[in-house]
Symmetry: C2
Subunit: 181 residues, 2 copies
DNA sequence: CATGGATCGTAGGATATCCAACAATTCGGA
DNA sequence: TCCGAATTGTTGGATATCCTACGATCCATG
């Protein structure tokens, strides 16, 4: 049976129409606050995990973009800072990216003068990654953005829930990671 | 100052070496359980959100792959099932994907006979999406996988924490989404 | 000290995703 | 009624990511 399709909340978001046309396009509210029913999805951890992560990613990108660096660069710089001399493979394992994904990212960071890739003396296959002074500066700037970002997340999660929330995420990571290999 | 690099836990994961070489490659534990320090990342919601989401995605993909469908297909089918006749744009808004991303996905689902795209009578620009009987069957199979998956997530999060965890995710989605546009 | 298996970083191919631009269509005002 | 603005789905270009394959290198075992 075909939908009556009159005053049908399912057809198109049909925004209030008034927009001061700046930037890309207004995105419709996610998670089915449109009048679109999500059914099973409504009570599913996995789906909400995805939406929350993507929203967080975009929000962080908006902040960090002001200094010409994207979210992926942040984790990269932090880990190099914390572990000077580590290899690309080890870096990838730590930040959760394939080593082949890091190749162009590190090339770019090197060309921008933020990191150094020295051939490791003890193993000439690998590079020893370090931050340059400029890299440390960039990291400091990014760190400020990251702090502000995580504060925003904290406010949404609620300070009293933060620890439990983070623990739950850690359990998911540890538990699923052991499955995923 | 160059790293001494002897007994240096930062160089390479250097797995226990014994592997029964099957499948792709063993992935090193994420989240810096390698001996690699994560520094700031260690206490950051955003970073853990990303790792948890990706792990969940991969885990679900492994389940759903057994019936030839990927995670993205699940949300698509659920929402069409719940909202027969909706448009591609409305679907995209609900599942959090750009309409142009859905074009090839819907084309594929249509070719596999799982959905129908009828031109909407009232608006000939848009399609009215519905599930075919085969699509309903596929959805049923996927739903079983999804249920098992979310049970696995529930176990890791802890039944007593589930509601609070989900609420926190919802607050993040709602709060960040309003920023991200 | 040879040699085969493991590991390093890179290159290439495949996918998924976004945004911008487009033709077709709809809709709201003059 | 007519026209400009908005919307629909598609296309094309740009990224980010993964996996596989590869040459170079390392290392454990003979």
């Amino acid at each position: 049976m075909a939908q009556p399709s009159r005053a049908n909340p399912l057809r198109a978001p049909s925004q209030p129409k008034a927009r001061s046309g700046r930037g890309p396009a207004l995105r419709a509210p996610l998670g089915g606050q449109n009048g679109v029913r999500l059914g099973l999805l409504n009570d599913t951890l996995g789906f909400h995990l995805r939406l929350a992560q993507e929203a967080s990613f975009v929000a962080f990108a908006r902040r960090s973009g002001t200094c010409g660096l994207k979210p992926g660069h942040f984790a990269t710089l932090v880990v190099i800072h914390e572990n000077p001399g580590l290899s690309q493979t080890a870096l990838g394992a730590a930040v959760g990216r394939d080593k082949s994904t890091l190749t162009p990212r590190l090339t770019e960071l090197e060309q921008r003068g933020l990191i150094r890739r020295d051939r490791a003396a003890t193993d000439r296959r690998s590079y020893a990654l370090t931050l340059t002074p400029a890299g440390e500066e960039a990291l400091a700037a990014l760190t400020a953005h990251a702090a502000a970002h995580d504060e925003a997340l904290d406010r949404l999660v609620g300070a009293e829930n933060r620890a439990a929330f983070l623990d739950a995420l850690r359990r998911l990571i540890a538990g699923l990671d052991s499955d995923n290999r």
